[in-house]
C-alpha cells in the first residue's frame, strides 16, 4: 500500500509524528552542519540521569508502514535528512568565474577517514569534462625506447593496487595565514579529502616503454580544456606514483578525473593531473605557468620557491570547530584529522589553553602512510574561555609548526601556499567556537 492510499483516520496521527521527526531532524542537521554541539553530560542528564520526567516511547511511524520499495536499479543516495552535508565552492576568496575554481569538503561532517566521493573537494582549471572511457587514450613518449598508447581497457588489464591516501591542494588554508577569514573548518581546511585509490603503478608502464637512463623528469598532461600539465621528478614517478581509475570502490567521478588520473601520494593535489592523456619523459623540468607563476611559495627578498611538492605534516580539530556551539560545561570529545605527505602520523597533541600546555591525544586505527588519521581527546569543559588546537608529529619526527614558526622562513604575502600551521579555535563563555588563527 502506498502512502497516498492510507486510510483517512491515519493521517492526523501521521501528521503529528511527521512534525516531531521534523524537529528531530532539524536538531540533527544543525548538529552535523556544526550549529550545535551537545555536551555528553547534557545529553546524559536530559536522557534520564535526573530520572524525574516520564516520557513513554511510542512506536515510530517507520515501524508501522511499509518503506520504499527496492528499485529495479538505482544509485543509492544519502538520506534526505543529510541534505545540508555538501561540498561548497570557495566563498571566502570568491573567484570571478567558476571554471577555474574550487569547492571544499565538509570536514566537520566527515566520519572515519574516507571522504565520500560526492563530497571530495574539487579544483579544476577549465571546468569538468565529460570523457567517454571507450575513447580515452593515454600516451607515454619522450625519452623512452618505444612510445606507447593505452586504451582504458588496456590499462585495466594490469594487476592493480588499491591504496588509501589523502589528497590536499597546496592552496588549502591560503585565506587564513594572517587573518581569521574563514568561519568553518570546511572553508579553512576543506581542500583536503581522502580516498582509496585503485590503479596501476606508473613504473609498470614505464618499464614496458623502456625509460632512457638519462631521464630525470616526467610531464603529466590532462585532456581537459586547460590541458593542465606539471613536471614531476622521475624519482617520485618511479617510487609510488599511480595511474588510477578507481576511487572508493567505483570509477572516478568526472570531477576527479574520470576515467584516468595521476595520483602522486603525499604531494600537492595539482600534480595528480586529472583526465590524464599524456606522460612525456624528459631530462629537465618544463617550467610551465603552473609551476612558476602558480603553485610557488613567496620567500623573503622577493623570491619564489619552486617545485615545493610535499604536503608536510598537518592537523586540525574538526569538532568542535568554527561555527559550532557548545551547550554548557561538561564532557566533550575533541576530534580531528592529522596527515603527512612524508609518512604516517606518530602522535597528535592537543592544547586547551592556546599553546601553553599540551597533552597527547588518542590516535584511532588505522594510522596509514600518507593518509588521514583520526585523533580524539576527551575534554571536560569548565565553561570558561578556551583556545584549542592540535599539533601533529609524523614518522620522520617532524613537528607541525605554528604560523609564526613558518613566518620566520617564508614571506607571508598574497596567496601563500602550503599552510600547515597549527590552527586554533577559540571557545567563548557562550560556547561559540571561532577561528582564532590570529
Amino acid at each position: 500500500m502506498s502512502r497516498k492510499e492510507k486510510a483517512p483516520g491515519a493521517s492526523s496521527r501521521g501528521a503529528t509524528l511527521k512534525e516531531s521527526s521534523h524537529i528531530h531532524s532539524q536538531d540533527r542537521r544543525s548538529f552535523l552542519r556544526g550549529g550545535t554541539l551537545l555536551a555528553g553530560a547534557t545529553v546524559a542528564s536530559a536522557a534520564g540521569l535526573t530520572g524525574a520526567r516520564a516520557q513513554r516511547l511510542e512506536i515510530p511511524p517507520s515501524g508501522k508502514e511499509m518503506g520504499h520499495i527496492i528499485e529495479a536499479e538505482a544509485y543509492g543516495m544519502p538520506s534526505k535528512f543529510e541534505a545540508k552535508v555538501k561540498r561548497r565552492r570557495t566563498d571566502v576568496l570568491v573567484n570571478k568565474q567558476n571554471w577555474s575554481d574550487w569547492s571544499m569538503t565538509p570536514l566537520q561532517s566527515q566520519l572515519g577517514i574516507v571522504t565520500p566521493n560526492g563530497l571530495f573537494f574539487e579544483r579544476h582549471h577549465a571546468g569538468v569534462p565529460d570523457i567517454d572511457p571507450d575513447h580515452h587514450v593515454l600516451v607515454i613518449h619522450g625519452m623512452v625506447k618505444q612510445p606507447l598508447k593505452f586504451s582504458m581497457s588496456d590499462l585495466m588489464r594490469y594487476p592493480s593496487v588499491s591504496k588509501f591516501h589523502f589528497l590536499e591542494c597546496s592552496g588549502n588554508g591560503l585565506t587564513d595565514w594572517t587573518k581569521a577569514a574563514s568561519k568553518t573548518v570546511q572553508q579553512s581546511h576543506g581542500l583536503l579529502s581522502c580516498a582509496q585509490w585503485t590503479g596501476v603503478p606508473l613504473a609498470t608502464l614505464l618499464d614496458e616503454a623502456g625509460v632512457d637512463p638519462a631521464a630525470k623528469w616526467a610531464l603529466f598532461e590532462g585532456a581537459d580544456g586547460s590541458t593542465h600539465a606539471r613536471s614531476i621528478p622521475m624519482d617520485k614517478v618511479l617510487a609510488d606514483t599511480l595511474l588510477v581509475w578507481g576511487q572508493n570502490g567505483e570509477m572516478l567521478r568526472p570531477e576527479q578525473g574520470y576515467p584516468l588520473r595521476a595520483f602522486v601520494p603525499g604531494w600537492e593535489g595539482n600534480v595528480s593531473v586529472k583526465w590524464l592523456r599524456r606522460v612525456k619523459i624528459g631530462d629537465q623540468p618544463w617550467h610551465l605557468r603552473s609551476e612558476t607563476a602558480r603553485y610557488t611559495d613567496p620567500m623573503p627578498e622577493g623570491k619564489w620557491r619552486q617545485f615545493s611538492f610535499m604536503m608536510e605534516c598537518k592537523s586540525v580539530i574538526t569538532r568542535p570547530s568554527g561555527g559550532m556551539k557548545l551547550q554548557g560545561p561538561g564532557s566533550y570529545e575533541i576530534e580531528g584529522f592529522a596527515w603527512s605527505g612524508n609518512g604516517s602520523i606518530k602522535a597528535v597533541d592537543v592544547t586547551l589553553d592556546g599553546g601553553k600546555n599540551w597533552r597527547e591525544a588518542r590516535l584511532e586505527e588505522p594510522a596509514l602512510d600518507k593518509c588521514l588519521t583520526r585523533f580524539r581527546y576527551t575534554w571536560n569543559w569548565d565553561g570558561g574561555p578556551a583556545k584549542i588546537a592540535s599539533r601533529a608529529v609524523d614518522s620522520t619526527g617532524y613537528v607541525q609548526p605554528t604560523v609564526s614558526d613558518i613566518a620566520k622562513a617564508r614571506a607571508l604575502v598574497g596567496f601563500v601556499q602550503h599552510h600547515n600551521g597549527v590552527f586554533p579555535w577559540s571557545i567563548g563563555q557562550d560556547g561559540e567556537v571561532k577561528n582564532a588563527i590570529v
Binding site: H141, L148, F150, D154, Q284, A293, D349
Partner: protein, 194 residues
C-alpha cells in the same frame, strides 16, 4: 565397465587440462603483462604541444607581431581580460607588477612572474581563449604572446616573436626562483609551559 572407462578417460582429460592450465598460469606470471600499443611520433604530433620554456625546446615554426596580437586580443580575449589586458570580468590584470616582489603587495602578472617568455606561448596555446582552447594557430599564439610582452614593456612595439626571438626575451623574474628547502621549520614537541 564402459562407463567406468569413460570416467577414467574424463579424469585423464581433466588432469591434462589442469596441468596445461598450470603451465599457462605460471608462464603468464613469469612474463610481465604488456598491453601498450606502439605509436609513432607522427600520430601523436597534435598532442605533443609542451614547450620546455627555459630554452624554448618544442616551440613550433611560425611568427607573429605585436600589432597582430593587439587585433586578435580585441576579438578573442578582451571580453574576459579587459582593455589592454588590464583586467576584466573574468580575470585580473595581466600587466605590471614588475618590481613589486620586494614589497608587501606582490603583483603577479606574466610580465612580473614568468621566468621565461615561452611560458606565454605554452599556456596560451594549451588553455586560451578559455571558451575555445587549442583553437589558435601557432602564428596567432606568437602574436598574442608578443602583444602581452609588449604591454608589459618587455619588447618593442615593432618586435616579431618566433621560436628564436621569444626564447631570447629577458624576463625580469628569470632569477627569482629558489628550490624547495623544506623542512624549513624546526618546531619542538614542547608539552608544558611552552
Amino acid at each position: 565397465m564402459r562407463s567406468c572407462n569413460l570416467a577414467a578417460g574424463a579424469l585423464a582429460a581433466l588432469v591434462v587440462t589442469a596441468l596445461g592450465l598450470g603451465t599457462a598460469v605460471s608462464q603468464s606470471t613469469s612474463r610481465k603483462p604488456h598491453f601498450g600499443k606502439p605509436i609513432s611520433q607522427a600520430d601523436l604530433a597534435a598532442w605533443d604541444i609542451d614547450i620546455r620554456t627555459s630554452d624554448g625546446k618544442g616551440l613550433p615554426q611560425g611568427k607573429g607581431t605585436v600589432a597582430e596580437g593587439k587585433a586578435l586580443f580585441a576579438q578573442q580575449c578582451v571580453a574576459c581580460h579587459g582593455d589592454a589586458a588590464k583586467g576584466g570580468p573574468m580575470y585580473g590584470s595581466m600587466v605590471g607588477g614588475i618590481g613589486s616582489f620586494t614589497t608587501n603587495a606582490r603583483v603577479l602578472t606574466p610580465g612580473s612572474m614568468y621566468p621565461y617568455a615561452p611560458i606565454l606561448f605554452d599556456y596560451i596555446r594549451r588553455t586560451m581563449p578559455m571558451t575555445a582552447p587549442q583553437s589558435l594557430t601557432n602564428d596567432q599564439v606568437y602574436a598574442l604572446s608578443a602583444y602581452i610582452l609588449n604591454l608589459n614593456g618587455l619588447i618593442a612595439e615593432n618586435a616579431v616573436m618566433d621560436a628564436a626571438s621569444l626564447t631570447k626575451v629577458m624576463m625580469p623574474n628569470r632569477n627569482g626562483f629558489v628550490v624547495d628547502n623544506r623542512p624549513d621549520t624546526t618546531a619542538k614537541r614542547c608539552m608544558a609551559n611552552c
